[in-house]
């Protein structure tokens, strides 16, 4: 036999729909003979119904495209976070063998090293479908926190792992000394165009150029 106290304890399970048949039976037997509990159940049920109505009435329904956009944004931001992490791992490590192109020192003074042309813009040549790792080396005299690096790719050049993205942005910090960012470029079609990398820190920014000649 269920008493009043036990009934109160079972009430929320009743609301949850998780009462078993025996408890259900005991509960209704009790309420049939106990006016106080009968009133309690109907009063609580009425409040509960009203709370649910209240709930439905004040949550706005997002527009049809909101969820789609939220998923796309989450994927984009999430990917960026993952990439930042993997970039930071390689960043600041010892210089790998490869093509060191950009030299960055002190307060945004550009000093390109490595292969260059008369105009001062370094150039690399690639064949279509060729993949090539270009190491961007930033040598900084001071530590820079919250720097942003944006790479703008010309048509016909992609970075491995970022298919179809023309503009890629990372947020990072530069350590004192040489900071390395390896980019694996993939040539997808013939082109002779310039890749831009803009490093921004506070109000200062500096753009580095790399000519990519794909034949």
């Amino acid at each position: 036999m269920m008493n009043c106290e036990q009934l109160v304890d079972k009430f929320d399970d009743l609301m949850d729909g998780s009462l078993d048949a025996a408890d259900m039976k005991a509960l209704s037997t009790h309420t049939e003979g106990c006016e106080r509990c009968q009133q309690m159940v109907s009063r609580e049920t009425a409040l509960r119904n009203l709370l649910q109505e209240y709930g439905d009435s004040n949550v706005p329904t997002p527009t049809a495209t909101y969820f789609d956009e939220a998923l796309v944004t989450a994927a984009r931001t999430g990917r960026k976070q993952q990439q930042n992490r993997s970039w930071l791992k390689g960043f600041g490590s010892a210089l790998a063998a490869g093509l060191a192109i950009w030299f960055f020192s002190g307060a945004f003074v550009q000093a390109p090293v490595g292969p260059g042309t008369d105009s001062g813009i370094p150039v690399i040549t690639m064949a279509v479908e060729e993949a090539r790792t270009v190491n961007l080396v930033f040598s900084s005299a001071v530590a820079l926190d919250n720097a942003t690096l944006t790479v703008n790719l010309p048509q016909g050049i992609e970075i491995a792992g970022f298919a179809g993205q023309q503009e890629i942005t990372w947020q990072t910090s530069l350590s004192v000394g040489k900071n390395l960012l390896p980019l694996q470029l993939i040539a997808t079609m013939p082109t002779d165009a310039t890749l831009l990398a803009t490093l921004k820190h506070g109000e200062d920014d500096r753009t580095f150029r790399l000519r990519v000649d794909v034949s």
Binding site: M15, D16, R43, Y54, L71, Q82, W87
Partner: protein
């Protein structure tokens, strides 16, 4: 730079889609206003994207997702500084939803019903955070006691007694207010 980045929405969309509405509602419940709810919702989706591999192995994804959101909210409460649901003004109840609340076509019934809901919103806003939260989860959103335990980490017994105290308090506020119950 992982090759799997090439398929950004595969899996993610499929796994998340069935739970979007519930998550959105939870964000709204926790934050109490649109802009913070949408920030929370977006931040949590991003967090889940990064942990997508975990989600694939979860047997109860709905509850897991709610827990991720709840924990994120609790960890970062200051960011989503909760505005209590005091803002249940006429403006917060758009006309069509006031209409849709009514079980009858009588305009006076509609008005009375809307009025009760407004008072209820005011009363809810006077509850403590703890009481407000448990009523939100259980009575408003219909989460089961067991789910609340899994989301908040509080045992069912604790949730139950908190719920009883919260309802008693709510009823007291409503009674003082001279309203129903």
């Amino acid at each position: 730079m992982d090759p799997k980045d090439h398929q950004p929405l595969d899996g993610f969309d499929q796994l998340l889609r069935p739970h979007m509405e519930r998550l959105y509602r939870l964000a709204w419940r926790l934050c109490g206003n649109k802009s913070e709810a949408e920030d929370l919702f977006q931040d949590v989706l991003t967090k889940i994207y990064v942990r997508l591999d975990d989600l694939a192995d979860i047997s109860e994804p709905a509850t897991w997702l709610c827990r991720v959101m709840y924990n994120h909210f609790v960890d970062d409460r200051r960011k989503y500084s909760r505005q209590r649901m005091v803002i249940v003004s006429e403006a917060a109840l758009p006309e069509q939803s006031v209409e849709s609340l009514a079980g009858s076509d009588s305009p006076s019934d509609n008005a009375e019903r809307a009025d009760r809901l407004l008072r209820l919103g005011d009363a809810l806003a006077q509850l403590s955070d703890e009481h407000h939260e448990v009523i939100q989860f259980h009575d408003i959103e219909g989460y089961k006691l067991k789910e609340i335990q899994e989301i908040t980490g509080d045992p069912v017994g604790t949730v139950k007694s908190r719920l009883h105290r919260a309802r008693a308090r709510l009823r007291e506020i409503l009674a003082n207010d001279g309203t129903f119950f």
